[in-house]
């Protein structure tokens, strides 16, 4: 069986996001593998360690820098990687066409990816890909087991969580709580350098962006920054309650 694990390269959460003109400019920004996708890479490795006979393939669609994230995945233990290199910004509906095409040509039966992208804040790729392939989907998974083709686990829903049962093929989105992703060890980093990282051509998938990006802005809300010294707790508390009641008028 083949498992695809999708990864993207996003700004480090602590990095400052800046604009140039009216688009986000990542030049000079530290980029890392999206933490949400990392849970997916780890999940694939653990399914195999738990007995699933699987070849695990890391996939990234995006600029050249995505290679670093793919190398990290290889060093974590993924078998090989496919990089569809492009500077074009593909929305989830368009990107799902690429991923579905690759899943078909590889004959994959399980696709793992993060529940929400840390750059475009999108949750749509998993569902769109599942629809194109006609597969089941499970989102926000925090427990996952594979027994033959039976997939079981737990996931979060609107008002709590559910235990589920389904069968491969499926698309599963991952999140915090599913596992603790491993750190690549030095020997594995060395080994990863010899693993296959295949470049693939976006043009073969016939995917065109379905959205037009008009502009981006960083709206920083001006905050009052009124900080009270708490040395005298009673006085500080009374002052704060007074401000909230009579100045901000947010409490009664």
């Amino acid at each position: 069986m083949k498992i695809l694990t999708l990864i993207r390269q996003v700004p480090d959460a602590e990095a400052r996001v800046k604009l140039s003109g009216n688009v986000v400019d990542l030049g000079g920004t530290t980029v890392v593998m999206d933490g949400m996708d990392e849970y997916g890479v780890e999940a694939a490795l653990r399914l195999r360690e738990a007995g699933a006979e699987a070849e695990i393939i890391a996939v990234a669609v995006g600029p050249q820098r995505n290679e670093d994230a793919l190398r990290t995945a290889l060093a974590m233990g993924v078998d090989r990687a496919v990089h569809i290199e492009t500077e074009e910004r593909l929305d989830a509906v368009a990107l799902s066409k690429v991923i579905a095409g690759l899943a078909r040509s590889e004959g994959a039966e399980l696709i793992l990816l993060g529940g929400q992208e840390a750059d475009w804040d999108s949750q749509a790729l998993g569902a769109a890909t599942a629809e194109r392939l006609g597969w089941a989907q499970l989102t926000w998974t925090n427990e996952l087991h594979l027994n033959g083709t039976a997939l079981t686990g737990r996931h979060d829903v609107d008002d709590g969580n559910e235990s589920f049962e389904t069968h491969l093929p499926a698309v599963v989105t991952t999140q915090q709580g599913l596992n603790e992703p491993r750190y690549p060890t030095l020997p594995n980093i060395m080994k990863a350098k010899k693993k296959e990282l295949r470049k693939d051509d976006l043009a073969t998938y016939g995917a065109a962006p379905s959205l037009n990006y008009v502009s981006a802005e960083i709206q920083v809300r001006a905050r009052l920054n009124r900080v009270i010294d708490g040395k005298d707790p009673q006085a500080a508390a009374a002052q704060l309650i007074d401000l909230l009641r009579n100045e901000a008028k947010v409490i009664r």
């Binding site: 929305d91 840390a118 804040d121 969580n161 037009n212 008009v214 802005e217 920054n225 009124r226 401000l243």
Partner: protein, 316 residues
């Protein structure tokens, strides 16, 4: 027509449905606003829906007794096609954002996700949405015969009722088999106001110390203020509070009138879920904690000293 897929729980129309109707009205797109009610035993929901929509389509079917992404997507796409909808709006809830992309693929339509505003630009529909963990606001445009949108919860004001209720029509659907079986379900109930509905939220972070302190400090303060209770991921991971209370990138996104963060450092992933609150209040013993940068009011001090004084001062 504009097709809006109603959200409902416990036999009641959710606030999100009124927000979506308001999104539809603000979109500048023409045609009747049609609310689609999917479920079983939803007559009450349909009647509530009729108060705000031009028409209501009700699929009251036993197969739809519980939510399933594939069924919801199939139903929505069928009705969108049959009614030649040019705009389909789903909730921006977890489930809404799970089936909306499937609807978009089925209809070969572009998808505007988690929109905070909508406007017509010629034939195109424009949306604003947050990106980069809510730090950037982007404007995105979609065109074509049909566009799918999910509306961010809390971003649109709930729609006011129409003078005369809309007509209700029962519909039948051709639905696929379920592929996912739900074998267990646990609903995290809180006795307090739901985070999505709360005007005030009191959130505790790791600085609160332990679960007992949460009960001793955070809960009474929340009760005095009539507030909802929130938590950081650090607190949820430590098992002090349920995941339902987590605010942030992987938890809930909230936008209350006042967000009171106690012993919370203000990590980007947390700010992503509450940074748009009207007023932010922080109490932290570290004057350099990042949360103070986004705070309107703050106290530098120990929560175990300040919060009891706040509980006292907020008692009326």
């Amino acid at each position: 027509m504009i097709l809006v897929v109603a959200e409902h729980t416990g036999g009641k129309l959710a606030k999100a449905s009124l927000e979506m109707v308001s999104a539809a009205r603000s979109s500048g797109r023409e045609g009747p606003i049609t609310l689609l009610v999917l479920g079983h035993g939803v007559a009450g929901v349909a009647a509530e829906a009729a108060a705000v929509a031009d028409q209501v389509l009700v699929a009251d079917l036993s197969e739809l007794a519980t939510y399933d992404a594939e069924l919801w997507a199939a139903a929505t796409a069928q009705i969108a096609r049959a009614g030649e909808a040019h705009t389909v709006i789903t909730p921006g809830s977890r489930s809404g954002r799970e089936y909306a992309p499937r609807v978009a693929v089925k209809l070969d339509a572009p998808y505007l996700e988690d929109a905070i505003s909508l406007s017509a630009h010629g034939d195109a529909l424009r949306a604003q949405r947050y990106t980069y963990l809510s730090r950037v606001t982007e404007t995105v445009e979609a065109s074509g015969p049909v566009v799918v949108v999910s509306a961010k919860p809390g971003a649109f004001a709930p729609a006011a009722p129409l003078g005369a209720p809309g007509e209700q029509y029962d519909i039948d659907l051709d639905l696929p088999e379920r592929r996912v079986t739900i074998t267990g379900r646990s609903v995290e109930k809180s006795s307090r106001v739901a985070l999505s509905e709360a005007d005030i939220i009191v959130t505790g972070g790791r600085g609160v110390g332990n679960a007992e302190n949460f009960a001793r400090l955070i809960e009474p303060l929340a009760d005095n203020l009539g507030a909802g209770v929130g938590a950081t991921r650090a607190v949820v991971d430590a098992g002090w509070r349920p995941y339902a209370e987590q605010v942030g990138q992987t938890g809930k996104t909230v936008q209350p009138g006042a967000y009171i963060a106690l012993g919370v450092s203000g990590a980007v992933q947390h700010l992503s879920g509450m940074g748009k609150s009207k007023y932010i209040v922080a109490i932290n013993k570290d004057a350099e904690a990042p949360i103070f940068k986004v705070a309107d009011y703050g106290i530098v001090g120990d929560v175990s000293e300040i919060v009891p004084a706040l509980i006292e001062a907020s008692r009326r």
